[in-house]
């Protein structure tokens, strides 16, 4: 597989940078849509960029209880998510770095980031941090099986855990509305909501200890660290959306490298992702946050639907 030209690698890096750079934009867009649907004006869609830049410039306050783990966590988060971005095809049908790692590696990288986030939550000796880590632990424990079962379905269906393979064979297959994949889609959607802390699971925009899961772990952050945390969270969300559209809506990728193809691919990608984002934002305004122990039921639904997907695939 490693017969790539420099151009390929360049495009691969371009894809990664695209994800990293566009991710705050998606966040801003979703905020805007929410605001609109709640009859608010809301901040502009570029607000997240301003926030990041601002935060990067501000001084940082660090809890005196905390250790180097606390300070390292934002960097680890950013590095893991950003490197995960390298394995995702965006407008090409493949990513030249597909050889280096597959979807399991991506999951592993996310898990590494989450591991450090949870530790950071515990590190500050505040009860909020512990609360956040504890809840994060629960959600991650439950999401894991659902995620792997979905990967199991997809891998068996598209013959690989190598994302490039998946995308290309998804791109080739004409019919996508087979029950197995449909159930996988449902499962993956729920997982996506959970991983990105969307409403029925979590509500990042409030700071109520009743509601927050992910927020609580990064409550103590400020300045650079906060910026990195926010940004890496945005990248993670972006990657998940991209994976979703890559796997379940794989239309008209650029088969071979040509300026038109690539530009068309980029356009199409942005359209797909933004529609998905607005859809999710719309859902967020319609449903209420669920009680913490109801969340497990939701994820159980994801697991079961992915299992059904497996059964449909095999029988």
């Amino acid at each position: 597989m490693s017969d790539f030209s420099m151009l390929d690698y360049g495009l691969g890096i371009l894809q990664a940078l695209l994800l990293i750079v566009l991710s705050p934009l998606i966040v801003g867009m979703m905020r805007k849509i929410k605001a609109k649907s709640q009859k608010r004006i809301g901040s502009g869609i570029f607000q997240p960029y301003y926030d990041i830049v601002k935060l990067l410039r501000k001084e940082e306050i660090v809890s005196d209880q905390s250790s180097w783990i606390f300070r390292a966590t934002p960097w680890v988060n950013f590095v893991t998510t950003a490197s995960a971005a390298f394995f995702i095809p965006v407008f090409l049908v493949y990513s030249p770095f597909g050889v280096v790692g597959d979807i399991l590696l991506v999951v592993g990288l996310f898990a590494l980031g989450r591991f450090f986030t949870m530790l950071a939550g515990l590190d500050t000796a505040s009860s909020f941090g512990g609360l956040g880590s504890s809840r994060e632990m629960m959600v991650s424990v439950l999401v894991e099986p659902a995620l792997f079962m979905t990967i199991f379905v997809i891998a068996s269906f598209y013959g690989g855990t190598n994302i490039s393979t998946i995308v290309s064979s998804a791109n080739d297959t004409s019919i996508l509305i087979v029950p197995g994949i449909l159930f996988a889609l449902i499962a993956f959607f729920i997982i996506m909501m959970a991983e990105t802390g969307k409403i029925p699971f979590d509500n990042p925009s409030t700071h109520l200890e009743l509601t927050m899961i992910h927020e609580a772990t990064m409550l103590e952050y400020s300045g650079k660290s906060l910026a990195l945390m926010e940004w890496s969270h945005a990248i993670k969300q972006m990657i998940l959306f991209t994976l979703f559209v890559d796997i379940f809506l794989p239309w008209n990728f650029a088969e071979q490298i040509s300026l038109i193809g690539i530009s068309f691919g980029i356009m199409l990608f942005i359209v797909k992702v933004s529609t998905l984002a607005s859809f999710i934002a719309f859902i967020e305004t319609r449903v209420a946050k669920w009680r913490l122990f109801r969340v497990s039921d939701l994820i159980a639904m994801a697991i079961s639907s992915s299992m059904i997907g497996v059964i449909f695939f095999f029988l």
Partner: protein
């Protein structure tokens, strides 16, 4: 060949030297050096020996014999070599660690027994692996159990240790009974006690092989701590001194795995008989259950060493899953997949020895400097003992299976072989194995939670008791011992092919060893890439991203200053260590979700300032307990039932001499009738 043999003799000699010196230099100033330097040296030689045998051919020798029945014969082939490597590596690190650790007992107990048993324990494990005859295998196997048992009850003043020691001894003896039975079944077919005769499978009919394997699996599984025969493990490992528990968990369990591997791939030579499908599925099922149950117990455990012991059960489960998959694949002639699964399980075996040894040694260091194993009393240790914390972090990341450490490679391989079940031509199997994937995934998630809890509560935030407050970093030798294993975690993580090549050449699998910088790639039948992994590449990406983001932040953000300030306390004044999350509360949500399994029970009692006023509460105590269903339901029932029967039987010793004479008369008449009927037929 000959020089390898001489190395072997030197190894044995040095271990015995360590044992004798350990016994006779008690109370001396340099006692620990006399004891553990020989063992360290011998272990190092063991590594050398295994590496040389990888390159040269295997050793097969026969020594004296008894009544032409059992020869004392040794056979060091690749299988043995691989496990010799594990033994050597871990015991090398642990011996160095023990140089300082065993000083812990200096004034309290006599170190001499500890040192002696330590050496004998290691050498017995080596001899188990290389002995090639039923009798001597069993002798060394039981010697291994016996020495480890004595090490478990080393602190026998504590009644609790004695109890757990007895449990261990009995359970392991039960296991030996099963192993013995299976060997004997083979012996009835071959008529020889030598393993060589077991190897030529032609004379042994299939069903005998199956029964023998099942018996052996139960026997070795007891030693490996598979559910539901695991009950001794979480009792024994915490009771032992930590250097010993490191050896037991990291190496001794692997000796059990060695036994199973011998049976499966050496005595049995898996062919496509349908039995193997079900054997394999059985192994997978037991593996999944063990991993899940083990980690569920580890998650809520507050004793750090018990938690590690439970996680050993979980890892053994994962190894079993790999083995079972490889059997199933082999039974369906999917050879490459079978090889993949086998590599996965062996890689995980290697990994688990390394990081579990590391973690147990770290737990030992914690106990060494805080004198407690209860994580509720710990906290904030990362500031007191930074290096130990670092080691524990490495161990945790490895055992959770996060990139870029070795644990990730093991679990990646296992997952890949699990994902490949869609190539099995049987729908029922595919669907049922999908559940194994589910269990495995759940296990991975729970492992993450477990080690977040262990590391977070032990090392981060404020100290929860004075024990933790007064902790200091452990002596340098202990750190070196841990560092050896930690660095090998990293090495195997970055360059997995080192491990894979070892396995390939040890079990001479149909697969060519390649350079450490190769890509692990699994290709589909149509040539497209199923999955591939190139850890060095990942590292490169890491570094570039780090450089990039660092540059970006410096350019955009410029230089900013960081201020240390108290944690946000909602304006309630300074936070005390009482306000932070405890280990129990951290696990509470999961405990609730899996309540079916834990049967948790929160006993709450509230004291009021005044009876009549129920609003002003003085204090609220919550005692939250969980129940161990295995000890209660399974073992409790069995033991009480059998004791009932025994009690009835022994009552015949009633003390009445008339009754005794009556017994004789009855026996006589009964036998006479027996024969009378016999003659009339």
């Amino acid at each position: 060949m000959s020089e390898n043999l001489s190395i072997l003799y030197v190894i044995i000699a040095f271990f015995s030297l360590g044992a004798t010196l350990g016994l006779f230099t008690r109370g001396q100033k340099y006692h620990t050096y006399f004891t553990y330097i020989p063992s360290a040296f011998a272990s190092f030689l063991t590594i050398i020996l295994s590496l040389t045998i990888f390159s040269s051919e295997s050793i097969h020798l026969t020594f004296f014999n008894i009544q032409d029945l059992f020869y004392f014969e040794i056979f060091i082939d690749g299988v043995a070599t691989f496990f010799l490597l594990i033994i050597g590596l871990i015991s090398f690190a642990v011996s160095i660690y023990s140089l300082s650790y065993s000083k812990k007992f200096d004034d309290k107990k006599n170190n001499s027994a500890l040192g002696m048993l330590f050496n004998v324990f290691i050498i017995s494990m080596i001899l188990v692996v290389i002995s090639n005859n039923v009798f001597f295998f069993l002798v060394f196997w039981e010697l291994m159990s016996l020495t480890s048992f004595f090490l478990v009850i080393y602190e026998h003043e504590n009644k609790h240790n004695l109890k757990s020691g007895l449990t261990y001894l009995v359970m392991t003896h039960l296991g030996t009974g099963f192993i013995f039975a299976s060997f004997m079944l083979m012996y009835t077919q071959t008529g020889s006690f030598s393993f060589d005769s077991f190897r030529d499978v032609s004379i042994i009919p299939q069903y005998v092989k199956d029964i023998a394997f099942v018996l052996a699996f139960v026997g070795f599984g007891t030693k490996a701590g598979m559910i539901p025969l695991h009950t001794w493990l979480p009792k024994a490992h915490p009771s032992a001194p930590s250097n010993v528990s490191a050896l037991m968990s990291a190496v001794m369990l692997k000796i059990a795995i060695y036994g199973i591997v011998r049976y499966l791939f050496d005595f049995n030579a898996i062919d496509s008989s349908p039995d193997y499908v079900w054997l394999g599925v059985g192994i997978i099922v037991i593996g999944s259950i063990s991993s899940l149950v083990g980690i569920l117990y580890a998650l809520i455990e507050n004793d750090i060493k018990r938690a590690l012991a439970f996680s050993s059960i979980e890892n053994i489960g994962i190894i079993f899953i790999g083995l079972g998959l490889s059997v199933v694949f082999a039974a369906f002639h999917l050879l490459s997949l079978s090889v993949l699964a086998f590599i996965a399980s062996m890689f995980h075996t290697l990994n688990h020895s390394i990081f579990k040894g590391l973690l147990f040694m770290t737990a030992g260091s914690i106990h060494y400097s805080t004198h407690t194993k209860n994580i509720e009393d710990l906290g904030g240790l990362i500031k007191k003992m930074p290096w130990t914390a670092m080691m524990f972090l490495v161990g945790s990341i490895a055992i959770i299976g996060l990139p870029p450490l070795n644990g990730f490679i093991g679990e990646w391989l296992t997952l890949q072989s699990l994902l490949a079940v869609f190539q099995i031509p049987s729908n029922i199997l595919q669907v049922s194995l999908a559940f194994a994937v589910l269990a495995f995934a759940l296990t991975i998630g729970l492992v993450g939670a477990t080690f977040v809890r262990l590391f977070g509560i032990t090392f981060l935030s404020k100290s929860r008791s004075f024990k933790a407050t007064n902790a200091v970093e452990v002596p340098r030798l202990m750190l070196i011992g841990k560092a050896i294993l930690a660095s090998s975690c990293v090495l195997l993580g970055i360059l997995p092919f080192i491990g894979i090549n070892l396995i390939v050449s040890a079990f001479d699998l149909p697969y060519t060893p390649s350079s450490p910088f190769e890509t692990i790639s699994i290709t589909n039948t149509d040539g497209s890439n199923f999955a591939s992994l190139l850890m060095p590449g990942v590292l490169v990406i890491f570094i570039s991203v780090i450089v990039g983001i660092f540059a970006f932040v410096r350019i955009i953000g410029g230089k900013t200053k960081t201020v240390k300030y108290g944690t946000w306390d909602c304006g309630f004044g300074s936070l005390s260590e009482r306000t932070q999350y405890t280990a129990t509360s951290l696990a509470e949500p999961i405990r609730r979700i899996f309540g079916v399994f834990y049967k948790p029970n929160n006993h709450i009692d509230v004291n009021f300032y005044a009876k009549e006023n129920l609003y002003l509460k003085k204090s609220i105590n919550v005692i939250s307990t969980t129940r161990n269903i295995f000890d209660e339901k399974l073992y409790g029932k069995v033991i009480s039932g059998s004791l009932f029967v025994l009690d009835k039987i022994r009552k015949i010793q009633s003390g009445k001499v008339n009754a005794y004479i009556l017994y004789i008369m009855i026996t006589l008449i009964a036998l006479l009738l027996f024969v009378g009927f016999g003659t009339h037929e």
